[in-house]
């Protein structure tokens, strides 16, 4: 039993791959905890993936993972995002009450971590709550991007991805939303993750799909109307089409592959779709939807 050091790689989905490469080690070694002392910044995607690591650890070992030596500003952020409210991971530091970040509704540039249940009826209720809260806070969260039409499209994106959790993953998942400044760039990010059967698992019984690499399959679900269940399998395809309109980007990870579609770079002549297979294995499906600028 050891405490595993988490590198300062929780800044975006790409850098978080380094942390995911430690996942098997954390599970196999039955790590006593994670040391976050080197972490200087956590984005919503990395935050939710850390929560998934904790939940998988809890399910596999029966014990809660403890986070050690969390820098004060990271602990403040995690507490503000309700990271610890889900009772999945423990923390050996305590944040004094006066150090808690304020929860002003007029300055809310985020949507706290919310669990999306794996059952349809409960999930629909939670998705309704998520959408209502997002609409209420949209003017602040989307300050630099705000138009009513933009909010409408993002509501559709949130609803489509959240539904995939209970329709396909056979597990519950999490959502978090935030806009923030990072390296002088304005970033709006929606992170939606689960640790279910993953997209390859969903299409296991479709022989024409089985021969594809996992990354190619992720590209197919984003670009082709395809569904393992629906008559009109348009959900993820629609998410991609909407993000193309909004000139945003999508990062989709499932099992051992990811795809990154950078629509904001599409006008340039270079590539804007990046596929990667043979990544470290991590159960489920993880989404990051981003607007930059």
């Amino acid at each position: 039993m050891a405490i595993i050091q988490i590198p300062d790689q929780c800044k975006d989905p790409f850098s978080f791959e380094t942390v995911i490469s430690l996942y098997q080690h954390i599970i196999n070694q039955k790590a006593e905890g994670l040391d976050l002392s080197h972490v200087t910044f956590v984005d919503p995607y990395s935050l939710l993936c850390l929560l998934l690591i904790g939940r998988n650890y809890l399910r596999l070992t029966g014990n809660k993972l403890t986070l050690h030596r969390i820098p004060a500003q990271i602990l403040q952020y995690m507490t503000r995002m309700d990271f610890f409210a889900h009772n999945i991971v423990d923390c050996d530091d305590t944040l004094e009450k006066h150090k808690h970040l304020k929860r002003s509704t007029t300055s809310s540039r985020l949507l706290e971590v919310i669990e999306i249940p794996g059952k349809e009826k409960e999930s629909v209720r939670v998705i309704a709550k998520v959408i209502a809260t997002f609409r209420k806070r949209a003017l602040v969260i989307l300050k630099h991007w705000f138009t009513l039409t933009m909010v409408d499209y993002l509501v559709t994106v949130i609803s489509e991805i959240c539904q995939n959790i209970f329709e396909h993953s056979l597990d519950s998942g999490f959502i978090a939303i935030q806009s923030y400044m990072y390296l002088n760039e304005r970033i709006f990010r929606i992170a939606i993750v689960d640790s279910g059967i993953g997209i390859p698992g969903t299409f296991e019984y479709m022989p024409e799909i089985k021969t594809m690499s996992n990354a190619k399959l992720l590209q197919t679900v984003l670009t082709t109307p395809l569904s393992s269940k629906r008559r009109y399998g348009y959900g993820l395809c629609q998410v991609n089409a909407i993000m193309e309109q909004l000139k945003g980007s999508i990062f989709l990870r499932s099992e051992n592959a990811y795809i990154s579609v950078l629509h904001h770079r599409r006008s340039a002549k270079g590539s804007y779709i990046f596929l990667k297979d043979d990544c470290p294995s991590f159960p489920g499906t993880q989404f990051s939807i981003t607007l930059i600028g």
């Binding site: 349809e120 009826k121 629909v124 209720r125 998705i127 309704a128 959408i131 209502a132 609409r135 009513l148 039409t149 909010v151 409408d152 499209y153 509501v155 559709t156 609803s159 489509e160 539904q163 329709e167 109307p225 629906r230 008559r231 009109y232 348009y234 959900g235 629609q238 089409a241 909407i242």
Partner: protein, 184 residues
């Protein structure tokens, strides 16, 4: 018949205060509620689905509510027609994407009250010729196959076939007279 979808949505707990219609669950519930109202429908009636107060929908909702409604309009014992009114850009976009997909040789077109981004008043999978025919009907309220033949520079038989095809998918109305087709 006018169906105010916002009013129907207020009777569903999760959408009571919402301006958004999403999920298959909500779609199924609203389709059932619309179906109940359709019991009082007259033959050849236009069912206006009023989206006033609704900002956005998703593909699952359209798949479970609008698509079955269009299917029913084509297969029902007596014909009826669907028209969407007061739709936002989002609703237009999502409905167009979903019903624009052909499935099992099935094709759907739905009329709207606005000039959509595709340059016409209808959404779905539609050819340029069909677009022109429907728009002719919208502008002139009605058309015969002779009118369309002259407008499109095609034979009357070809024009009539096109009009009948559009009638079968309930994109134009044909009441008693087999030669006169009306806009929805």
């Amino acid at each position: 018949m006018v169906i105010e979808i916002k009013k129907l949505a207020t009777s569903v707990v999760v959408t009571r205060k919402s301006t958004d219609l999403f999920t298959r669950y909500v779609g199924k519930l609203l389709f059932q509620k619309i179906q109940e109202k359709l019991k009082h429908l007259a033959e050849h009636e236009v069912v206006i689905i009023d989206f006033d107060g609704i900002r956005s929908v998703d593909a699952s909702f359209v798949d479970e509510c609008i698509v079955p409604l269009l299917e029913l309009s084509q297969t029902n014992a007596f014909p009826f027609y669907i028209k969407l009114v007061n739709i936002t850009d989002n609703v237009e976009y999502i409905v167009n994407q979903v019903i624009g997909m052909t499935h099992d040789q099935k094709r759907y077109i739905v009329m709207t009250d606005r000039l959509c981004k595709n340059g016409c008043h209808e959404l779905g999978s539609i050819s340029e010729m069909e677009k022109d025919i429907i728009e002719y009907c919208v502008i002139n309220k009605q058309a015969t196959s002779a009118d369309i033949a002259s407008f499109m520079h095609v034979s009357e038989a070809e024009a009539r076939d096109s009009l009948l095809r559009l009638y079968e998918i309930r994109a134009v109305r044909k009441i008693h007279d087999d030669t006169v087709f009306q806009a929805i």
